[in-house]
């Protein structure tokens, strides 16, 4: 019997796609927002990004070393988490806080749950929320340190106060206002969205439904087109809808499920923002829906062709 032939299960050909390539595409898609952030907020933004990314990669590598797991940093998912976290922070966060937050996101939210694919909540978002809660006292004020601005309050707060200083729609779209590093420039985020669509990393449904739901609800409740537009352009909705609500691991597996998930995100965001006047709607809504994901999956499973409905 010759043994030099490879014996294996079918199929014998595969797509050229890989997890690594997907992560790389997400990184590429985040670059415009990162660059815009550095332009808008200056060198400190670069420092925050570097701190988060390096910490993310190093902590995953160390974790794997310590628990003797196969090294996984090569899949770039840690880079994505670090980058995403950084883009959701404002530049007045201290670098050491970035390090703590990023390490928390990777070690506690991802690695302890078994690594890539096993975490139930999005590490970047959870990391951000953790920082909001942990460092609000550090900042000593009512406003959490990470969303406090270099120069002014966030547009959402200004909008809520009906302030004259509220930025115009164009400013909002280009991101020339206070906020987190990567969340303000909608133009850059849309470029990233286009890349993800082009590379078929995600489908359009989740971002469009998420943003659309918030828009429609604002339109209905405020009756102002202007206001509804401003609301979707501000406050991290684009980055959340395009990059975080579309996270594979923490959203339902079927398209149907993803659509329900996105609708839920939009709804919760609106409720938090409109009724609670709390600007952090996006992160919390995605986190809440992450937790609901297993339940959404239960009732959005596909019906097999010719099979009776599951369950």
């Amino acid at each position: 019997m010759e043994t030099n032939l490879i014996l294996s299960s079918s199929p014998h050909i595969h797509t050229r796609d890989s997890s690594r390539r997907i992560m790389l595409d997400v990184i590429i898609a985040l670059l415009p927002a990162a660059i815009a952030g550095i332009i808008i907020f200056g060198a400190k933004a670069l420092g925050v990004i570097a701190a988060c990314v390096i910490t993310a990669v190093v902590s995953e590598a160390l974790f794997n070393l310590i628990v003797h797991k196969q090294q996984t940093v090569g899949d770039f998912s840690a880079v994505v988490t670090g980058l995403l976290l950084a883009l959701n922070l404002s530049t007045n966060v201290a670098i050491w806080q970035c390090v703590v937050g990023s390490a928390f996101a990777i070690v506690v939210v991802k690695c302890l749950f078994g690594g890539l694919g096993k975490n139930f909540a999005n590490p970047a978002i959870t990391g951000r929320v953790f920082m909001l809660l942990a460092f609000s006292t550090v900042a000593g004020g009512a406003k959490p340190a990470v969303v406090e601005l270099v120069s002014s309050a966030t547009p959402l707060e200004l909008l809520a106060q009906g302030s004259e200083n509220a930025p115009g729609l164009m400013e909002l779209f280009l991101g020339l206002h206070g906020g987190a590093i990567g969340e303000t420039c909608c133009l850059a985020l849309l470029l990233g969205f286009a890349w993800l669509l082009f590379r078929r990393v995600i489908k359009w449904h989740v971002p469009v439904i998420f943003i659309g739901t918030v828009f429609v609800l604002y339109l209905v409740f405020t009756g102002s087109f202007q206001m509804a537009l401003a609301e979707i352009l501000a406050g991290g909705l684009f980055i959340g809808a395009i990059f975080m609500a579309t996270d594979y691991v923490t959203s339902p597996i079927t398209l149907k499920g993803k659509m329900v998930f996105a609708l839920g995100c939009g709804l919760v965001t609106f409720i938090i923002r409109y009724f609670c006047a709390y600007p952090e709607g996006v992160s919390f809504s995605i986190l809440a829906m992450n937790i609901l994901t297993p339940y959404i999956e239960k009732f959005t499973a596909n019906t097999p062709l010719g099979g009776s409905k599951n369950g």
């Binding site: 032939l5 079918s10 199929p11 014998h12 050909i13 595969h14 890989s18 997890s19």
Partner: protein, 451 residues
């Protein structure tokens, strides 16, 4: 009924470089090895002894039971051995080795069968030794026999040939369109089928044109061009796309008055009825990155792979993997000296680079496997189920997720960016679920018996 608008399918690279190549009859090999398990049912039983002289078309092993099928000598010569053979690792059977005399003398028993009614027709098809030549290996007559349970109104003729590389059905339609016509006529006459749908992927325009030409005057036959996507030729997919029909879970296709026949099987059947020559040779595609001159060959069944490779100019690179059939569903050969069997429609030889295994990594829950399963199944659930320790719990999840429906088409594994071995998992899960199900049924029976 739960109709989906369209079945998800894949656009695979076609690699059909042999599509325009007429099939070549090669000089008979010096020996053939004929395994007794070339069909889905029980192994055939040899009726010749070592030392016997056999001629082409002579019965050398008889069928054993309903889903079994007779085996005929495919070259003339001497029976040199009847030996144990492993068709795939762990699947043991016997095989008859015939050393050829190069004469290809035809056996006098090869005479057109006498047919005058359904019974004699089915008996003849049974004797032809024809099984599903598209790879299924289910005896053709047993399929036609469904007529006894109820009328077969519609015959779906499968000419989709959706697997990459393979063009042997394509060549049948182009080169033997007369036999396809005769096959249809026979089914009309004896099964009284009223409608024939011939599904062909639109990457074979010449086959479509030829079939349309020969069936131009026959209103009962619809030549249906289909999109060239994988797995267009799979039962449920073809049924849905060509006939708009869904077979329910556990429902028999024949109970709806339908059967599906591979186009080459149909042509071979017509050939047998006409000439009396049973299934002794077939057309198959030899291709792949390691093959020097890919070709379609008409060769005796039982020919060793190495001989086919030589007939195609040999290897241009070291062989990494040899596949019986196409790259999506084919099984790997463990040796170049293994013979082709009745259902082998292709031999694909990949070079080392193409054959290299992809390292699996963690599932990233991207949902591509689910989105691309033609049947709407969820392979990630099967993988999860296999991790459950409790037997009944595992079975319950697998049963709920309908693992038994999985047709192992390979789409899920193909698209998985983490290179998870999904089909392998599915197969294991299926086997497990089937075992538990039988056990449960037996317990059920025992209980009833005890009452």
């Amino acid at each position: 009924m739960n109709f989906k608008k369209s079945i998800s399918s894949l656009k695979l690279p076609h690699y059909k470089s042999t599509a325009a190549k007429a099939s070549v009859r090669v000089a008979p090999p010096s020996e053939v090895l004929l395994p007794m398990n070339m069909h889905s049912g029980q192994a055939a039983e040899p009726v010749v002894a070592v030392g016997d002289y056999v001629r082409v078309g002579q019965l050398i092993a008889r069928e054993e039971g309903r889903n079994s099928s007779p085996v005929y000598a495919t070259i003339s010569g001497t029976v040199a051995a009847i030996e144990p053979y492993e068709s795939e690792p762990g699947r043991k059977t016997q095989a008859i080795l015939i050393k050829g005399d190069g004469k290809m003398e035809v056996d006098p028993s090869v005479q057109p069968p006498e047919i005058h009614d359904l019974d004699s027709f089915l008996a003849a098809v049974r004797q032809s030794g024809i099984v599903g030549l598209g790879g299924a290996a289910f005896p053709l007559w047993a399929k036609l026999d469904a007529i006894r349970k109820g009328p077969i109104k519609t015959v779906l003729i499968n000419g989709a040939e959706c697997e990459p590389f393979i063009t042997s059905d394509h060549r049948t339609m182009v080169e033997h369109s007369d036999l396809v016509v005769k096959g249809v006529a026979l089914l009309k006459e004896y099964l009284h089928s009223e409608e024939f749908i011939l599904g062909i992927e639109n990457n074979k325009p010449d086959a479509i044109a030829e079939m349309q030409r020969v069936f131009a005057d026959d209103p009962a036959v619809v030549v249906k061009p289909l999109k060239s996507v994988y797995p267009q030729g799979a039962k449920q997919v073809l049924l849905y796309n060509a006939a708009g029909l869904v077979v329910g879970e556990g429902q028999r296709l024949a109970s709806l008055g339908y059967i599906i026949i591979n186009v080459t099987s149909l042509a071979k059947m017509a050939e047998y009825i006409e000439t009396g020559m049973p299934l002794v040779s077939r057309c198959l595609t030899v291709d792949g990155s390691a093959i020097k001159e890919p070709k379609n060959l008409e060769v005796p069944i039982g020919t060793r792979i190495s001989y086919l490779v030589e007939a195609c100019g040999g290897l241009k690179e070291e062989a990494g993997k040899v596949i019986f059939g196409g790259p999506m569903m084919g099984k790997t050969a463990y040796s170049m000296e293994q013979p082709i069997v009745k259902a082998t429609n292709a031999i694909v030889v990949m070079n080392r680079k193409d054959a290299a295994a992809l390292e699996p990594s963690a599932c990233i829950h991207c949902g591509r496997c689910v989105a691309n399963c033609p049947l709407g199944l969820n392979p990630t659930a099967y993988a999860k189920a296999l991790e459950i320790d409790d037997k009944m719990e595992r079975y319950a999840l697998l049963d709920k997720e309908k693992v038994s429906m999985c047709m192992e088409c390979g789409c899920c594994s193909y698209v998985c960016p983490a290179h998870r071995p999904l089909v392998e998992n599915n197969r294991e899960a299926k086997r497990f679920a089937k075992k538990v199900k039988t056990e449960l049924q037996e317990q059920e029976k025992e209980k009833e018996g005890g009452k």
